[in-house]
Amino acid sequence: MTRRLTREGLLNLAVLAGLVILPLWALWADEPFTITLATRAVVLALAAVGLNIALGIGGLVSLGHAVFFGIGGYAMGILAHHAQTYTSVMEWPFVIEGTKNMPIIWLVATVVSAFAAFLIGLLSLRTSGVYFIMITLAFGQMFFYFAISWSEYGGEDGLSIYVRNSFPGLNTLVPIQFYGLCLAILLAALALYSALMRSPFGLALNAARQVPERVRAVGLDPFRLRLVAFVISGAITGLAGALFADLNRFVSPTMFSWQLSGELIVFIIIGGVARLFGPVVGAALFVALEHWLGGLSDYWHIYLGALLLLIVLFGRGGLIGMFAGRGKIHD
């Protein structure tokens, strides 16, 4: 089988090269802040890749994905907070100690996010269309208010972590090393996304988005397909939340905010729905705009809003769509 590189494939390679070269350049030029910005973009991209599994393949417009981002963030915050205060997370019925070890934190973040996604999905996937949008938005708000009222972990003020958590064999305090770690996870998530899209599961989920009646008629249950997609999606976004909290060494209820849920969708749309690299392009552009426009004007959200309106009203397929043409058939 010969594999020709499509224009989208070339574009993806270019983005990938940029993700490697830009921070290395920043390292050489001694611009650590650029590395931090790039890390921010990579972590937000990871969150959006998670959402893209539900939204892009499954067609589930979740306006509450900040829930999982926030859960991931608080998983990190709570574990690290107890580790740095030498207290235990709980003592009954069994003792759970805090930890500063990233792999353990990531495991907790993904498992708890996945469980939350399972519960929210169980309820909200009983509905579809606008109901689903409104319900996911509402559950997001529920977690937001819950985090605010949870004074044990800082309530509205959030939790600060003094030192970034550790990863065996790396010094995560060095920006480029932490960046490399985040990039590796993003690439792993992209590989997973790509595999999912072609897998039997992806085939069925993709069909459930387009023709649910047909999927039922061949003996598959769209509800279960969507629920599993939602859980995988939530888990990845949760992992991104843990990394985001580690990047800022801070978690607060704003990680649960509805704006963040909206922004995650924005990344996907700017980049292109169901495109492998769509969320990456979208998140990178967003972080760049936030930095440049935010430096030019305090009111840069107006320009972002205008850009978004133009893309929705006139530009189909997002940025990747504009450069690479209509989506190729994935085979």
Binding site: A195, L196, R198, S199, P200, F201, G202, L203, A204, N206, A207, Q210, V211, E213, R214, V215, R216, A217, V218, G219, L220, D221, L225, V228, G327, I329, D331
Partner: protein, 249 residues
């Protein structure tokens, strides 16, 4: 009694004051094509909905190979061997023809929970899908985006997906819909052979096809079966002529 592949017992379904299905009992035997005909609004779609599981009946039951499936949802009935086609093609337009056919084979395999290896490099899945495509003459279009198929090809793909399920009974909702004379003739020949694999409950408007194919015909008018019999019996039936054919004499 288990030699009946499909059986409905006195199905009833009302929408408000409208009785869409009125005590409908029909059967489907191995190797036969049983056609359901009737004017628009006679309740054919509602009947198919109840047989496939999309619509719960108010009363009555549906048996598949002797098993009561009345309360089972569509996926469960499909897994028990009931394959339906749709009046309006239900195809994943963004995907290739092969991917659509694979969906049927995937449903038949009952194993959609595989997340890593590509569906199309799964030989069992792919072979089943390609066999189905070959039989409806779409294999050469396997890599074509479904949205680019002609209407007739879409109708063929619709049947191919049902085929790839390797079902024990077909329920076909107007497979000839929108096909030209030639297309109808091809489809008719195809269904004629297909009945040997699994019997077909055929809802169809195309009378030439029905008269050419059907072993038995049931006539549905205002939700009731007003006549049931062989092609000749139905052709001669006075009630059918009056109620449905508008008394052609």
């Amino acid at each position: 009694m288990t030699d009946l592949v499909l059986e409905t017992c006195s199905l009833n379904k009302s929408f408000g004051a409208l009785k869409a299905t009125d005590a409908v009992s029909i059967t489907l035997k191995p190797g036969e094509i049983h056609a359901i005909i009737g004017p628009n609004g006679a309740g054919k779609s509602t009947l198919i909905g109840q047989i496939s599981g999309a619509l719960p009946p108010d009363s009555g039951s549906v048996l598949l190979n002797g098993q009561d499936v009345t309360t089972l949802p569509p996926p469960a009935r499909a897994r028990l061997g009931l394959a339906r086609t749709f009046q309006i093609s239900q195809l994943a337009m963004e995907d290739t023809v092969l991917q659509n056919a694979c969906l049927g084979a995937l449903g038949a395999s009952g194993k959609p929970w595989r997340f890593f290896r590509p569906a199309l490099s799964n030989t069992a899945l792919r072979d089943a899908a390609e066999r189905a495509l070959e039989r409806v003459g779409l294999l050469e279009h396997a890599a074509t985006r479904t949205a680019e198929l002609s209407h007739g090809q879409r109708r063929q793909l619709e049947v191919a997906i049902a085929l790839s399920l390797s079902p024990r009974a077909f329920v076909m909702d107007e497979p000839m819909a929108g096909l030209g004379t030639e297309g109808s003739a091809t489809m008719t020949r195809f269904l004629d052979e297909l009945r040997r694999e699994a019997p077909i409950l055929l809802v169809e408007h195309d009378m030439d096809a029905v008269f050419a194919l059907a072993d038995r015909i049931s006539v549905l008018v205002y939700g009731r079966i007003i006549a049931s019999g062989t092609v000749d019996e139905i052709r001669k039936d006075q009630a059918v002529r009056e109620a449905y054919l508008g008394d052609a004499e």
